[in-house]
Assembly symmetry: C2
Homo-oligomer: 328 residues x 2
DNA sequence: TTGAAAGCGCTAACAC
DNA sequence: GTGTTAGCGCTTTCAA
């Protein structure tokens, strides 16, 4: 037996389909009408079909969050924050993994035109003109959790990496470290670029030269370990800043393999302040780039734009803080 | 300007909407027809509306994966596996977090009747009669990645926890440990029950008495640390098995706080063999309960049932293995 | 091979 | 306050 439709409910209740719809949507109706409808609904076990509703009202009540890698704990934090905001507003959240390639990001944004979601929060790893264009042309609202040019005219929420880097470098100086190295992720990514610039500036401000800078192949744990090996083969830092927590933890494994102690021999700072930072050993000092707040703000921006598509795009910058733990 | 519809394409191409639909769906048509339609599609930038399509064909081409906690790395592994299988079959994956309560799981399953997805893979933390009933009554196919009674008559893919426990205990005995303790998660959960039973059996088989057994409040890192404190206040194990990797890592932090060395003073084994196991320090020996394979098999079962709802329910058991690392 | 037309299940005018 | 009805955009008979 197939699912009952609104027509079946109407028949059983002896009323019109419109009345059933009204009662179900809380529109004005007499007590008696409401009762009859409710009884029929219960009797048949009727549940409205969201597909049909979507088609009619032009909304799916579904929002998409696109991240590069579900295995990166920073996205877990962001995902939780986004989920909280959108579900409070009555939306379901669809989490999609784009992978590292910009073409897949573009395909995803273009695919939004199919209308399976009412909006998109995307945290792009790589950005090019195609991606910006696809966002601008997208039929549904898109909010970027990351960095796109201001002239793109899209809502964005981003971190302040340079300031975060300053926090990290200042902290290391406080701890008496001078021989500072940097493990970045791929510099052709959005976070990679931002952190590279931030690191360079922060070092220059303090009149320091980096002991070494290496670029990991991606933002993952194994890449962090490999980058750590490369770094340590080339120099003897007394502190290393890593572009995210996964890289930092990978690096710490390489340090351990070489019997270098953290923080005694080498201090390590990560970025993102994800759950991994407190779970790692020793617990990782990490720059909190506000991923929870960024997620929350991005979701709010998206909801606001769904309400009113004509509002002027906002560019929110979330300020960082430092979570000091035992790795420094 | 609003999105072009199939009618607009038909108008521009000077053909009927039916022909446009046919060309788009690869049904027989003349070369010329195909060309004209394609040109109109390109010109207008037409993209079919998946909502309308869903309503008509009765499918959303969307599948749901429901897990208790996105922050648990075991689900990352499972999610990746499920995603791979379903996207290869042309479906989008919606990942939903249910939280720890069975009522929310039930609500989720019931909500599937709204038709926003064509199927569900659920990994329930807690199972009761209501949940089983809601799964049986569900309008769309449901596959359980976990343990429900055979009489429920639903497709399931589950781990073999008892055998996993045996692997863990045998390994510890090999390493010369005898004073074995166990940190379980809540025993009113599916994995909690299974692991409790498995541990008890494995110990009995070897004629051993546990030094201590404690039950963490949930399967998280902080709960692991708290449970570790309780455990160590009560006894002096030379090895601890934890019911999952997060608990194991939490426990290791407590050990470190008490200046107990892993594995010298206390060996530690986790379960799940998630990415966290290799990221932790020291790297964690962990029972691989086949989460990737369970995800893959569950997804395959779901696709098969969508194809043919009359097939007899299958109950797949995935065998465990042990990933030995430095924590033992 | 192509076109006309009937819906899929629902909501929102509009008329009563 | 309630019922009738026209679609939302698409696919799929059914005829031509």
């Amino acid at each position: 037996m197939s699912r009952p439709t609104i027509a079946a409910v109407a028949r059983v209740a002896g009323v019109s389909v419109a009345s059933v719809s009204r009662v179900l949507n809380g529109l004005p109706a007499t007590e008696e009408m409401a009762a009859r409808v409710q009884q029929a609904v219960d009797q048949l076990g009727y549940v409205p079909d969201s597909r049909a509703r979507s088609l009619k009202v032009g909304r799916t009540f579904q929002l998409t969050l696109a991240v590069a890698d579900v295995g990166n704990p920073v996205y877990v934090t962001m995902m939780r924050a986004v989920e909280e905001v959108v579900s409070a507003a009555g939306y379901r959240l669809v989490v999609t993994t784009t992978g590292p390639d910009v073409v897949d990001e573009v395909a995803l944004v273009r695919g939004m035109a199919r209308g399976y979601a009412d909006g998109l929060v995307i945290s792009p790893l790589r950005v090019d003109d195609d991606l910006v264009k696809s966002i601008q042309e997208c039929d549904v609202p898109v909010v970027v959790a990351g960095n796109v040019p201001a002239r793109a005219g899209v809502d964005t929420v981003r971190a302040n990496s340079p300031k975060g880097m300053r926090l990290a470098v200042d902290h290391l100086l406080d701890r008496g470290r001078r021989r500072i190295a940097f493990v970045n992720g791929p510099v052709d990514t959005v976070p990679g670029t931002a952190r590279s610039r931030g690191f360079t500036e922060a070092m220059k401000t303090n009149g320091l030269e980096p002991v070494a800078v290496v670029e990991a192949t991606d933002f993952t744990f194994p890449a962090g370990r490999a980058a750590g090996a490369e770094l340590l083969d080339g120099g003897f830092p007394d502190a290393v800043i890593a572009a995210n927590d996964l890289l930092a933890v990978g690096l710490m494994h390489e340090l351990a393999a070489r019997e270098l102690r953290v923080p005694d021999d080498v201090a390590v700072i990560g970025m993102d302040d994800s759950e991994l930072a407190e779970q790692s050993f020793p617990p990782l000092t990490s720059v909190n780039l506000g991923s929870a707040e960024r997620g929350r703000r991005a979701a709010e921006l998206l909801l606001a734009r769904i309400e009113d598509d004509s509002r002027t795009p906002r560019r929110i910058v979330v300020q960082p803080s430092l979570s000091v733990r035992r790795s420094t």
